[in-house]
């Protein structure tokens, strides 16, 4: 069983290294991720939001829905910890 796990991990690592050959080069300006909406964000962030930090404006404005979801996930995690471990008073019948 232990050897099966090691072999599976090795196979998966070989698969990942094989797939990595098709990735664009690091920092390539012509990569698909860099030509779609990224130039728009970089050019228009200051005009749109008066915020010099592009990360903040993308996080909270352009992708606000995403951040709302992240915050809700964190809140749900805290709620579950509270319900499972914390002060859940068991005063049921």
């Amino acid at each position: 069983m232990k050897w099966l796990g090691i072999i599976l991990i090795a196979l998966f690592a070989a698969f990942l290294f094989y797939a990595e050959a098709d990735m664009p080069a690091y920092g390539d300006p012509g990569a698909p991720g860099s030509v779609h909406v990224t130039p728009e964000y970089i050019e228009r962030t200051y005009e749109d939001t008066h915020t010099p930090n592009i990360v903040t404006s993308v996080l909270a404005d352009y992708r606000g829905y995403d951040t709302l979801g992240e915050t809700t996930v964190i809140f749900t995690a805290g709620l579950i910890c509270y319900l499972l471990l914390g002060g859940w008073k068991r005063n049921d019948s």
Binding site: N53, T56, G87
Partner: protein, 143 residues
């Protein structure tokens, strides 16, 4: 079991450091527009201050300063601030979370987005702060 630390140096150092941790967290939150930082990071630093207080001063003293049940309440308030900002934009006629539609008179659209981002970051910071302290209090609760 978390008890008050038995060393005078640790206690005094904690009392000196914790206010500065809170101040630095507020700085990180408020300058998220200009420098690395923002709601998540600032909320985490705030929670680190409270957890340091819990570890050094013990439960009795630190529960008086920050009650454990306050954590989840603050987290909920944070999420309400976030979604309330989006809802205000929706009710004012724009899209959800489109801060350009926020009903503020005498402010042009980029500034509305600026302050919308600020409110959202404050909500995120409150949420992360409350939830992290709540998780710590849940994990260290004694049966």
């Amino acid at each position: 079991m978390i008890a008050r630390h038995n060393s005078l140096i640790v206690n005094i150092a904690c009392r000196v450091i914790v206010p500065f941790i809170f101040l630095y967290a507020l700085c990180v939150i408020m300058f998220g527009h200009y420098s690395p930082g923002g709601g998540f990071q600032g909320g985490t630093i705030l929670a680190a201050g409270v957890i340091l207080m819990r570890l050094c001063l013990g439960k009795e003293a630190s529960y008086k300063k920050f009650p454990p049940r306050l954590g989840l309440i603050l987290g909920g308030i944070g999420i309400l601030i976030y979604s309330g900002t989006g809802l205000a934009a929706l009710l004012a006629g724009g899209n959800y979370l489109d801060y350009a539609a926020l009903p503020v008179q005498g402010m042009d659209i980029p500034d509305r987005r600026y302050y919308g981002i600020l409110f959202v970051e404050l909500g995120v910071a409150l949420g992360v702060f409350g939830v992290l302290t709540s998780i710590f209090d849940s994990l260290t609760k004694e049966k």
